[in-house]
């Protein structure tokens, strides 16, 4: 470290440049997103159409919703690896309740089936939160157990196989629109707004970042760490269940082997690319949304240009590293 005097001099000399780099650093994800959109506008056939937006709106909601829960969990300094498996469980519960007896289901009304699926997500979340907060197990280990076991549970619920679902409500979920915008996208947007308000305006939001920022200090400042953590993991579980339901409606089937597969990684990527540090203490809602859109758009772009899979995976990895690198904390702050 240099002395204070030298530091001050250095800063004033490079004032303009530091301003620019810090501006870029804070907005890495938006800049990357703008670049990807620009690239598409110029080089991708059939991109400049409302259809493109429609497609994005149809495909985005599950990852967007899961990312919102993940952002909160990461804000506490934790991580939720079980979200993909939770999606599968919710999907399986939905199928079990709504499918007719001929498909080994219970033939319940769709409302009950949805309620039960959300309840299953809540249960998973409360379980995770309890293990983390009360059992003091590391979040990555606690949620890993359900990442492994959860999908098995889902398979047991449906009896293993893919179950096709024909309930008319699922078609509404899949194809319904309000003012030309997919209704699932409206749900996702509403969730993002709710999470944003939660983070900025509620005691829960204030407390969860305090826990992520310094758990010991939070305890000594009277933050109810246990209930806060359980609530946050529960939210993540419910969001994952909602995403599982949407994915099921999209697929017209419950496929517990694949619904939400690797979703935990997509969600973590969206959060991290969006500028939320993995060590916790901060939640960037808009950044996370931008991160999710960026990753989705990137995949779409690479697919549209028929780039071989191996190459696309490398390009995606490169973009993740670049976005995270640009947004790394500045050395002077550390």
């Amino acid at each position: 470290m240099t002395s204070t005097a030298a530091h001050t001099v250095g800063r004033s000399a490079t004032h303009g440049w530091e301003d620019i780099t810090s501006w870029v650093r804070q907005r890495g994800v938006y800049i990357a997103l703008a670049l990807v959109i620009l690239y598409n506008v110029i080089f991708t056939a059939h991109f400049n159409q409302w259809d493109t937006v429609q497609l994005l709106f149809a495909q985005m909601p599950p990852v967007l919703i899961v990312s919102m829960g993940m952002a909160l969990v990461i804000g506490t300094g934790g991580i939720d690896l079980s979200v993909g498996a939770t999606m599968a469980i919710a999907s399986a519960v939905l199928a079990k309740f709504v499918a007719p007896a001929s498909s080994h289901g219970l033939g319940s009304p769709i409302a009950l089936a949805i309620a039960m699926a959300l309840l299953a997500g809540l249960a998973v979340g409360v379980f995770n939160g309890t293990v983390v907060a009360v059992g003091r197990v590391q979040p990555i280990v606690a949620t890993l157990s359900l990442l492994v076991a959860g999908r098995g549970v889902a398979l047991v619920i449906t009896g293993g196989a893919l179950v096709e679902l024909f309930d008319p409500f699922l078609k509404v979920v899949r194809q319904g629109q309000v003012f030309g915008i997919a209704d699932v996208m409206i749900v996702a947007a509403a969730i993002a707004v709710v999470v944003s308000v939660l983070v900025r305006r509620t005691t829960l939001g204030y407390r969860l970042v305090a826990i992520g920022g310094n758990r010991r200090a939070a305890v000594l400042a009277g933050v109810p760490v246990r209930s806060t953590l359980i609530t946050v993991y529960a939210i993540s579980g419910v969001f994952a269940a909602v995403a599982g339901l949407i994915a099921t409606a999209r697929l017209r089937a419950s496929d517990p082997s694949y619904i939400g597969l690797l979703m935990e990684l997509s969600a973590i990527t969206a959060v991290v690319v969006g500028g939320t540090p993995l060590k916790g203490g901060q939640v960037r809602v808009l950044g996370t949304v931008a991160g999710a859109v960026l990753m989705q758009l990137l995949q779409t772009t690479l697919l549209a240009h028929n780039i071989p899979n191996s190459v696309s995976e490398m390009v995606e990895a490169l973009i993740i590293v670049a976005a995270v690198y640009i947004q790394r904390p500045s050395r002077s702050a550390a």
Binding site: T4, Y206, L220, G281, A333
Partner: protein, 517 residues
């Protein structure tokens, strides 16, 4: 080389100075380490002991001054460079691989090889011989993790010296050891001395210092206070040097209690802690606190002063004992319930237990008061802003605004943010653990004045400080602690530095006598 007379010290530090973000951690400190000598480094928290060690071991680079190795100036850009010069460090926690065998750990990173592959036989044989020389009998093929902490610590020492170390630094090596293990470790220190190694022994346990060391250097507030032979000082003198007053000055006129009127103790104390006991930490500590009273907890580091505060605050589980607030016992033993009742604590370690560095001043101050600032879970921005602005003004917190990150503030302002976090709860009892440590002189005076002011307004304050002067000047009552037990209580005019030190040193002397007998 053993006991040979050398003309130059193995390692010297000349006028070492080190700053961290504007605050001076070390200032013009000299240190000479001679072969075959054990040199104790003592001082309270924040005195600069660990900074000094980090300069010697290449973890930090000095901002001023230099390090000399056998009389030649050296630079250690990394810890590895210091190790290459024969400087080895043993930390409180054993930094080895518990799942590997003892022998592997001893030779970690420099395993003997034979035809390019690990020569296990030779390694085991040499490791066993090496440990034997230090009186450690163990099957070197067994994993290290299976041994007790003390033996692991010893193996770390052996590992360090087997690398032809010329300087071995031990940083609080006995903090997790049992008495028998401590004896063993001190024996090893003796063996190292015989081999001509220069040992640096960092400890706050004075008995060990007097038993094992030849020289002592006392640091306080980053400055060298005293250095000399063990035989040239008494325990009492050492304590006074650590706590901040020259022995000669002692007893020369008492300092006024910040001009406050003597406290009038009512019938019901606002806080009554009875028989606080926790195995190995606190032994039957009792404390009464009346409204408007400042009770100082005096004692050395590790005396149980912070633990007493934490136990009262519900942040340290007790084996037995009760805490009553206004004559009633607390329903639950958590910091949250204490805060709710009106007991607030400023933690000892500001960075580890206090601030949430990445959050703003606003969020840091408002954190504990969230229940008051919100309705149905929604935080009122208006109320929050009001409170935050009030305290920024009242405590003179210097910042660009309430949105500034706390990490960017100076130590004094961070401390004020934490005080504000507690004060906005309008507490009836304040537990202040080292409220003025590591903050600049101006801020220190402000904080001390604030404490007096709060007490005058009827708050009960428990004050903990490594600076005896602060305790003496600020307290109406002083409870003197040592090794988790209360040595006695001083009231009003009885309180002076001399009396406190006599109590602490007397107990220490007594203990040592027992040990020798």
């Amino acid at each position: 080389m053993a006991n040979g007379v050398s003309a130059t010290p193995t390692l010297s530090v000349r006028q070492a100075t080190k700053q961290f973000g504007g605050s001076l951690a070390l200032c013009d400190v000299d240190l000479d380490l001679w072969p075959g000598e054990a040199h104790a480094l003592v001082g309270e928290n924040g005195a600069g002991k660990s900074t000094l060690i980090k300069l010697i071991t290449g973890v930090h680079q000095p901002d001023g001054g230099e390090v000399l190795h056998h009389g030649e100036v050296v630079h250690f850009p990394t810890p590895r460079d210091a190790q290459l010069h024969g400087i080895q460090t043993i930390y409180q926690e054993v930094h080895l691989a518990p799942q590997l065998s003892i022998a592997r750990n001893v030779f970690l990173g420099r395993e003997p090889t034979r035809f390019g592959s690990l020569d296990l036989k030779r390694m085991n044989r040499e490791a066993a011989a090496l440990l034997g020389r230090y009186g450690i009998v163990a099957d070197v093929r067994r994993p290290l993790g299976g041994l007790s902490l003390g033996v692991q610590q010893m193996i770390a020492v052996v590992r360090a010296v087997s690398t032809d170390a010329s300087v071995v630094i031990m940083d609080e090596p006995t903090s997790s050891l049992e008495p028998r293990e401590v004896d063993k470790l001190l024996e090893v220190v003796g063996l190292l001395k015989q081999q001509g190694v220069a040992v640096v022994y960092v400890s706050h346990k004075l008995e060990e210092v007097f038993r094992a060391c030849d020289k002592i250097t006392v640091l306080r507030d980053g400055r060298l206070v005293w250095t000399g032979a063990v035989t040239d000082t008494t325990r009492r003198q050492l304590i006074s040097r650590m706590l901040g007053r020259d022995p000669g000055e002692l007893g020369n006129g008492k300092i006024t209690h910040l001009g406050r009127a003597p406290v009038e103790r009512g019938e019901v104390p606002v806080l009554a802690a009875q028989h606080l006991t926790r195995r190995f930490v606190l032994d039957d500590i009792s404390l009464l606190l009346h409204p408007g009273e400042v009770v100082g907890l005096a004692g050395l580091l590790g005396s149980g002063r912070s633990e007493t505060a934490k136990a009262i605050f519900g942040a340290l589980a007790l084996d037995s004992g009760t805490v009553e607030f206004c004559g009633k016992r607390f329903p639950r033993s958590t910091p949250a319930s204490r805060l709710h009742s009106g007991v607030a604590m400023l933690p000892e370690d500001r960075k580890v237990e206090g601030i949430i560095p990445e959050l703003s001043i606003r969020d840091n101050i408002g954190l504990a008061a969230l229940p008051m600032l919100s309705r149905r879970g929604f935080v009122s921005r208006r109320k929050q802003a009001e409170i935050v602005d009030t305290f920024i003004t009242r405590l003179h917190i210097k910042a660009t605004g309430p949105e500034q990150k706390v990490a960017e503030l100076s130590g004094g302002n961070q401390q004020k943010v934490l005080l504000a976090r507690m004060l906005c709860l309008s507490p009836k009892v304040l537990l202040l653990d080292e409220p003025t440590r590591g903050i600049d002189v101006g801020a220190k005076a402000e904080v001390q004045a604030l404490i007096a002011d709060l007490a005058a307004k009827g708050l009960g304050v428990v004050l903990i400080s490594s600076e005896l002067e602060e305790i003496v000047e600020g307290s109406d009552t002083v409870l003197v602690l040592r090794d988790g037990t209360a040595l006695g209580t001083l009231f009003g005019d009885e309180i002076d530095e001399s009396a406190i030190m006599t109590m602490i040193a007397g107990a220490a002397e007594h203990d040592t006598a027992e040990l020798i007998a």
